[in-house]
């Protein structure tokens, strides 16, 4: 299978405006290092799950891939085209093929537009349909996400959170994209509704042959929906591989800590064996030198404090960035 999306060494720094005085004094500008050399590829038809805690850069990555945020450097190839260098018309054409569903359906839908207008806008912008055909496509799209065609006349506030997320999904899919970034699509929803939306995304993926980048902080959800997973910490991928393999035998101490921190209904008596993380996430303004995880890692040694570990292949499918795990033959 060929890669639909290939991200190479993506960097995104947000500069911080220090104000006039430091600039006059010639102090170097600082910045938030949201993404620091991220590489990944997603094959056509697969779901890549991106796990990480808040501030790790997972949403920035999702948005940078669609160029909603301009990357500082790096390459993003989508279907063979490097989209970092695209001009506005080129990017517009590309955006038809790649879409996004945001986390909060209370904020991502314009409250002053009817659901019909919200769904019609992408079709109009791309000049794909008008008049009766446009209405028919909007109606059909609403039905395929489990709503009714006559809901087009209503406004977002007339819907529950789960229904709003269905509308957001319909808006993302109405252009028949190949690739969808799902950025925490169920995190704002109640438990019983989360399962409905996961089910819907799963069915649409199968029916329409979609490829997903599924971003979530919920490891069980990621494990359930993903073919492969990538674990992010402070702007870098620390571990990646097939979802089942990574979640069954996580190697990176951070992945292991994440797994054991999840409160679970299915845990046996292994609470005592948990890997406990102490402390908070360091500031991405000033990430620790060496391995970025060393300040919270129980296994850190001298080398971890000085030398950043490379993300190295473990076999033909898994990658881990750690000096100590898994223990590799010399």
């Amino acid at each position: 299978m060929t890669a639909l999306l290939e991200v190479t060494d993506l960097v995104k720094h947000y500069p911080i405006d220090q104000g006039l005085f430091p600039r006059l004094l010639g102090r170097p500008a600082g910045g938030v290092q949201a993404l620091n050399g991220v590489s990944l590829s997603i094959r056509a038809g697969e779901t890549l799950g991106l796990i990480g805690e808040s501030g790790c850069g997972k949403s920035t990555l999702g948005r940078a891939i669609l160029r909603l945020h301009e990357p500082t450097s790096g390459r993003i190839r989508f279907g063979g085209t490097d989209i970092v260098g695209l001009d506005a018309p080129g990017l517009k054409a590309m955006r038809r093929r790649m879409q996004i569903v945001f986390q909060n359906p209370y904020a991502s839908l314009n409250p002053r537009k009817s659901v019909g207008e919200i769904l019609a806008q992408p079709l109009r912008l791309h000049g794909l349909a008008k008049g009766g055909e446009l209405r028919a496509r909007v109606g059909a799209m609403l039905e395929s996400v489990g709503l009714r065609a006559e809901h087009a006349a209503r406004y977002p506030h007339q819907f529950s959170g789960g229904q709003r997320q269905r509308i957001a999904i319909a808006r993302a899919l109405i252009l028949n994209p190949e690739f969808v970034v799902c950025d925490e699509p169920v995190s704002a929803l109640d438990v019983s509704i989360q399962a409905q939306i996961i089910d819907l995304l799963d069915r649409l993926k199968r029916e329409l042959g979609l490829t997903y980048l599924f971003i979530s902080h919920d490891i069980a959800v990621i494990g359930h929906v993903s073919d492969r997973v990538a674990v992010m910490y402070l702007g870098q991928i620390v571990e990646s591989g097939p979802a089942r393999a990574v979640l069954r035998t996580p190697h990176h101490p951070y992945t292991r800590a994440l797994m054991s921190a999840v409160p679970r209904v299915d845990r046996g008596d292994d609470r005592a064996e948990r890997v406990r993380l102490t402390g908070d996430l360091p500031s991405p303004l000033n990430p620790p030198p060496g391995c970025r995880f060393h300040t919270r890692c129980a296994f850190a040694t001298e080398i971890c404090r000085t030398t950043p570990p490379a993300l190295l292949p473990l076999d033909d499918s898994r990658m881990v960035a750690c000096h100590h795990f898994p223990v590799r033959p010399a």
């Binding site: 805690e53 808040s54 399962a195 979802a243 089942r244 409160p263 679970r264």
Partner: protein
């Protein structure tokens, strides 16, 4: 049902009814909730948005304000009925005997006051054993504030007392809220979604902290959450709420291993589990009923796969022995 006599529970809510008058009609947010919290235990309250879980405990704290109204029932705490308690008596109770932490620590702390001011304010208002005199009293309160901040694991507590909430991370703010809530050593801590806004690694730290302090101080804890995993790991007993009513209650391990209400069973089937990622998740179809226009019979009926003719009449809670109960006509049948 039990072999030894039970002491009187610390908190006992009987047939509590709370309603809010809205333009759309009367919202019956809590409709006949009865539950008990025993001394030293941790009770988990599970429910989705609108289930009444927060309103139930806002009632315990005396925080229901118009258009909300407690329409009936009783809330007994330490031998007293709290419904209709006068405001001055309630003020003495809150903070000192019952404390509550709210979901979002970033909006519950006053951004314009230092955390030190916010924690010593509680101590100066409620603590009975501070020395007399303005200066010694303030110094003692400050020292106790530092001790509480240490207890909840805030590093370099003396140095942080004069910091403002925005200078703390989300996890540290939640710890600060817990420190404030615990500063007068209450007998009951009500933690409303204490970890929902936090990352999993920080969530684990905060939950372990609450469990540890509960053991140290011997207090009772009510943990309000939507996460069954949190309940499974930290609560002795659980009550599941749906549309303003308790639909199932009992010892946590038994309820999770063999739920007797279809809603509890549905919730458990709708979350993916790490130990069996290939298990399909089964969503509960439909949505929570409108609290203004509730069905006559079982409130879960429109979403239930086991619906029965008897479900159209009101369904009472049925005791199932061993401390378990469920509001389902099929509760006695094997699940």
């Amino acid at each position: 049902m039990t072999d030894h006599p039970m002491p009187e529970p610390l908190l006992s809510i009987t047939d509590l009814r709370v309603a809010f008058a809205t333009r759309g009609g009367l919202v019956r947010a809590v409709d006949g909730v009865s539950l008990e919290v025993r001394a030293g235990e941790c009770l988990g309250i599970v429910g989705e948005s609108g289930s009444g879980k927060s309103v139930t405990f806002a009632s315990v704290m005396g925080l229901i304000r118009p258009p909300g109204r407690i329409e009936g029932g009783s809330i007994r705490f330490g031998g007293r009925d709290l419904v209709g308690l006068d405001p001055a008596a309630y003020r003495r109770l809150r903070g000192r005997e019952i404390a509550m932490t709210l979901q979002d620590a970033s909006t519950s702390l006053n951004p314009a006051l230092t955390v030190g001011t916010q924690i010593t304010e509680v101590l100066l208002a409620h603590a009975e054993d501070l020395p007399a005199g303005h200066g010694p009293r303030r110094r003692a309160a400050r020292q106790r504030a530092i001790d509480m901040m240490r207890l909840v694991g805030i590093p370099a507590a003396e140095g942080r007392l004069d910091d403002y909430p925005h200078q703390f991370s989300g996890g540290m703010r939640q710890r600060m809220m817990i420190a404030i809530a615990l500063s007068c050593r209450p007998r009951l801590l009500i933690a409303d979604e204490p970890t929902t806004a936090l990352d999993v690694t920080i969530q684990a730290q905060v939950l372990e902290l609450i469990a540890g302090i509960r053991a140290t101080l011997g207090m009772s804890v009510v943990l309000i959450t939507h996460d069954l995993g949190v309940v499974a790991e930290y609560c002795d007993r659980v009550a599941v709420l749906y549309a303003g009513q308790i639909v199932e209650s009992g010892p946590t391990a038994q309820v999770i291993a063999a739920p007797r209400h279809p809603y509890t069973a549905g919730l458990l089937r709708s979350v993916p589990v790490l130990s069996d990622l290939d298990r399909p998740i089964q969503p509960i179809p439909g949505q929570v009923p409108d609290l203004v226009d509730l069905p006559e019979g079982c409130r879960f009926l429109p979403r239930c796969a086991l619906a029965h003719a008897a479900c159209h009449a009101a369904v009472p809670m049925r005791g199932l022995g061993a401390g378990r109960a469920a509001r389902c006509v099929l509760a006695e049948a094997a699940p």
